[in-house]
């Protein structure tokens, strides 16, 4: 820790502190005017469905109710059913475990790729950008199809290559049938799809770090690691936190990839994550009350996980 070069013009803290004294007029209607369109959309299309979700979670709501039969109030029955089913805890543990691994991998790889892009020459950066864009632009469904097919038991290119490289016979090796290797493939897909977004966002953030600050610290003898942790990270801290929180939410909610991959192979019972499980219980099996209760419980768990961050946000505000 040889130096902590003070960025002369704009110390890093300035970028992450809460809204400043600049706009102090508390009674101004202006911010409310700015918020109105967003509030209108969210109230109708988010708040109302959530209210409906809460109501449904206290009802016996099946397919007949979807077709107009009056639902019956059942109090906490749905919640009791969710919380007493061993399945729920298995699904929960699986989802959280997968989420942690996926978030760590996605964030780390994404950040490293962003740093790499800064270092690369124009041509190579273009190449990496194109590669990431291709990965990112892939429609989610066909991504799963292509990966599932690359890992196909009989005709998959992965088994073919493994056979060529290792010499032992991989033909007929099923990747999706063992829950653990199912999640390996799923993890590859999710990380592959997730890294570009993290990398681009981090890159967009990191390119905002004033070049002078970095140069000054380099002259002061800071090495790359010190520059990264002492200047770049604090500068993009808010972006990193947002990315982590969002990755947590997304990877916990991962739906399309699991859903489509289960269609290709894998045991539903041992590979369902929360989103898919709720879908199976609700839309597929027609027990909307149970699914609603499960969804509410799931939100509570996510809130618990992100409680620290929510509190930080609130504190930051005071």
């Amino acid at each position: 820790m040889t130096t902590t070069p003070a960025a002369p013009k704009a110390p890093p803290e300035a970028f992450v502190r809460p809204p400043q004294e600049l706009r102090t007029k508390k009674s101004s209607p202006f911010p409310y005017a700015l918020l109105t369109p967003a509030l209108a959309v969210l109230a109708v299309l988010v708040a109302w469905p959530i209210l409906k979700l809460l109501v449904t979670s206290f009802q016996e709501y099946g397919r007949a109710q979807a077709f107009g039969a009056p639902p019956e109030w059942v109090g906490l029955d749905n919640y009791v059913e969710v919380l007493t089913s061993g399945e729920f805890y298995a699904v929960l543990a699986r989802s959280v475990g997968f989420m942690v691994v996926a978030v760590v991998l996605t964030m780390t790889l994404g950040t490293l790729v962003a740093l790499l892009m800064i270092r690369l020459g124009k041509a190579m950066r273009m190449l990496v950008t194109v590669g990431l864009l291709l990965a990112w632009a892939m429609p989610a469904l066909s991504t799963v199809m292509v990966w599932g097919w690359m890992f196909d038991t009989r005709y998959g290119v992965v088994n073919y290559l493994l056979t060529q490289v290792t010499g032992s016979d991989w033909a007929g090796h099923s990747w999706l049938i063992e829950p653990l290797s199912f999640f390996l493939v799923l993890g590859l897909i999710v990380v592959w799809m997730g890294v570009p977004f993290i990398a681009f966002t981090m890159y967009a953030g990191l390119t905002q770090v004033p070049v002078e600050t970095l140069e000054a610290s380099q002259l002061d003898g800071a090495n790359a690691r010190q520059r990264f942790f002492q200047i770049q990270v604090p500068f993009v801290r808010s972006i990193i936190i947002v990315l982590i929180v969002l990755s947590v939410i997304w990877d916990l909610r991962v739906f399309a990839q699991v859903y489509a991959l289960q269609g290709i192979g894998g045991l539903y019972e041992k590979t369902s994550t929360l989103g898919v499980w709720i879908y199976q219980k609700g839309t597929a099996s027609g027990d909307f009350g149970f699914a609603a209760a499960a969804a509410v419980v799931m939100v509570f768990i996510m809130l618990l996980i992100s409680l620290y961050y929510v509190r930080q946000t609130l504190k930051e505000d005071d």
């Binding site: 397919r63 039969a69 999706l176 019972e269």
Partner: protein, 433 residues
């Protein structure tokens, strides 16, 4: 169905009278009764949802032209749906205002919707549509609490398909034991004696039923008991597991789609599949989805048999596959839909289905079935076919994927009794609400 028919008897007079008045004076302004107004059947555009590619092109064409000829000024559009996620889609689509007018639905899925009030009550048209001539098992799956909601569309039963190129001089089995013995004989390092992909529980069920087992039984109080743990079922599942592990090369986690690929690679001895799979096998080598018309699928080599039962001359119960067809409650043009439904159940239409290897919706129409091995096997197998438990909740069991999971476990060599007990518990949990 007794009750349904009583209702029919009572309703027939009314319907008849209305129908007559409608015929006599098509232009008469509607009176106050909403039903009469509906009988007027104003011209409109109706949408028909057929699922998958089972309905042959010729039948679609026939339906469209006949309907449009019979109902001047109206049009009929067929919109093909996918079997994958069908229950999910119907749950929303049929409950909304933009519902189609006529929908096909898998016979095992129908109860989930008849019980939910998703379909229009067709009880008063029961006799008109064919009455007791309609396939009984399918009338049952289309009825709920004595009312008739979904008519039979077609049936199809799984038959054993083989190519003499592989089976050589192995005789067609006459009994269940011979069938098992043949499977073992045909199996080699390259060839699956019987092609049994792990997820294909529908094929696996014949092992349970052939040995006298059952999926689930219901007692007088309406409580379901899972049947996979019964001694008969266990015997069947053990036989199945033996085949899966020792006479089969299909991956444990694969399903029954695309069987023509391994079949055309010469890797299958017996394949149990709906008879129309023959057309996938007997497709040209350079077709869009290639088959092997020149080799394993050649006309003089490809044949089929109905899976034999314990005694010679009997047949093992296979899973009755097929579809019902119904008018959604929210259909915009229910009367036009009724007219289309009548065309679908007519001899002309069903004859086209029969020619393509499907078992027609009415018992009397079975005569349209062709005289080849496939159609004969189909008809024999259909006669012995079994249905899944008659519960509106059965579709939920299927939708949960628990059957696929359990059969995959068998294919992985897990303990039969344990798998069966777990499966029973799951089924009971769902069927008993």
């Amino acid at each position: 169905m007794k009750r349904a028919r009583n209702v029919v008897a009572a309703a027939t007079t009314v319907t008849l009278a209305l129908a007559l008045s409608a015929c006599a004076s098509g232009d008469t302004p509607a009176d106050d009764s909403g039903e009469t107004a509906a009988e007027e059947a104003p011209a409109g555009d109706i949408r028909v949802w057929l699922v998958g590619s089972d309905t042959p092109e010729e039948a679609r064409e026939h339906l469209k032209t006949t309907f449009e000829a019979e109902n001047e000024g109206s049009t009929l559009t067929i919109e093909e749906q996918s079997w994958t996620g069908l229950v999910d889609k119907y749950t929303t689509a049929l409950s909304g205002s933009d519902s189609p007018d006529l929908v096909e639905i898998g016979n095992t899925q129908a109860p989930a919707f008849t019980s939910a009030g998703a379909f229009l009550d067709l009880t008063d048209s029961y006799e008109e549509l064919g009455g007791d001539d309609l396939l009984p098992g399918f009338v049952e799956s289309g009825s709920f609490e004595g009312q008739f909601y979904a008519a039979p569309y077609y049936s199809g039963a799984r038959v054993g398909i083989y190519s003499t190129e592989i089976t050589g001089d192995v005789e067609v089995p006459a009994t269940w034991d011979e069938y098992l013995a043949n499977i073992e004989t045909l199996a080699s390092d390259e060839v699956s004696g019987l092609y049994t992909p792990g997820k294909d529980w529908r094929n696996g069920m014949v092992f349970v039923w052939a040995n006298g087992g059952d999926i689930a039984t219901v007692d007088d109080s309406g409580t379901w008991t899972g049947g996979f743990s019964s001694p008969e079922s266990i015997t069947g599942l053990e036989q199945l597991q033996d085949v899966m592990l020792n006479s089969n090369h299909a991956p444990a986690d694969s399903d029954e789609t695309d069987p023509q690929v391994p079949f055309c690679a010469g890797e299958i001895g017996y394949l149990t599949a709906p008879s129309w799979v023959r057309w996938s096998i007997a497709a040209a080598e350079d077709a869009e989805v290639p088959g092997c018309l020149e080799t394993y699928g050649a006309e003089d080599k490809l044949s089929a048999f109905a899976i034999p039962g314990a005694e010679e001359g009997t047949y093992a119960p296979v899973l009755a596959g097929g579809s019902n067809i119904a008018i959604p409650t929210n259909a915009p043009n229910p009367e036009l839909a009724r007219s289309a439904l009548e065309i679908i159940l007519s001899d002309d239409y069903q004859e086209i289905l029969a020619a393509n290897g499907l078992v027609p919706a009415k018992v009397s129409q079975a005569e349209f079935m062709a005289d080849d091995a496939f159609s004969q096997a189909s008809a024999a197998a259909a006669a012995a076919a079994q249905l899944t438990p008659a519960s509106p909740l059965w579709a939920d069991v299927e939708a949960s994927g628990v059957l696929e999971d359990s059969f995959v476990k068998l294919a992985q060599g897990e303990d039969v009794a344990t798998v069966a007990a777990e499966l029973d518990a799951e089924i009971e949990g769902t069927l008993n609400g």
